[in-house]
Symmetry: C2
Subunit: 113 residues, 2 copies
DNA sequence: GTCATGGTTAGACATTTGGCTAAGTGTTGC
DNA sequence: GCAACACTTAGCCAAATGTCTAACCATGAC
């Protein structure tokens, strides 16, 4: 079970904020510099930088500075653990449904006898 | 774009905590009462109740009280919006890759001429 | 009726979060 | 050189989070 995975907590926490999700969506369309990223949010630069730090911490974006401009890019494979967790949960859930199915089948069989 | 969706924020926030994820995993295997849910976490009941409230708020679990025991059950379809958002992001990302592809193809064509 | 059980409410507390301003630092353009 | 630009750092603040204890219902078993 991967519930104590700090990765997952960082990822989910990073995604729990609309501003950060908007930044990711913007970056999915291609790299951008910080000011460009800040524009649509209406937030001040330091605030945006902190969101950016959260995203970077979760491994969702990587940034590099060239001259005075920092360019940010999405790391799409960083979302993989989330899909993984979702699939895990679904597997458990479906295993349970299967168990219930066979239980019900057994009950019906019993009734026929 | 569904980034301002409060649902998503609630969902991601609910999933950002290992304790809550563990509770969900437990519930994926079948319903449980609160004390049962609290057991493995080592946390006090009021704390667990608050986690439960967060999960319920996100629509991830539903609970009902019968006599003095409250039974909690998973709401697996509540995870759907997350898959949806993930797919959305991937679509944007892939559209971008496609654009890059055709750009490169165009470049190569130009060079041949 | 009384006592244990299972949950609930209320409040306290330290930490984290999300926002800000103000004052830097390093680059680039003229 | 110097001004504008693109961050960066430091520090403030209110609100939210995750935990706890202590006291309070309500139900079920005797």
């Amino acid at each position: 079970m991967s519930n104590h995975d700090p990765d997952l907590s960082l990822l989910f926490h990073a995604l729990a904020d609309p501003t950060r999700r908007a930044m990711l969506t913007r970056l999915a369309a291609g790299p951008a510099q910080v000011t460009e990223l800040a524009g649509p949010t209406g937030l001040r630069l330091p605030t945006v930088m902190r969101h950016l730090a959260v995203l970077a911490d979760a491994g969702l974006v990587s940034t590099a500075k060239d001259g005075r401009v920092r360019t940010c890019a999405l790391n799409p494979q960083a979302l993989a653990p989330i899909r993984g967790w979702l699939d895990e949960q679904r597997a458990i859930w479906e295993a349970r449904l299967d168990r219930m199915d066979s239980y019900v089948l057994a009950l019906m069989k019993d009734r026929k006898e």
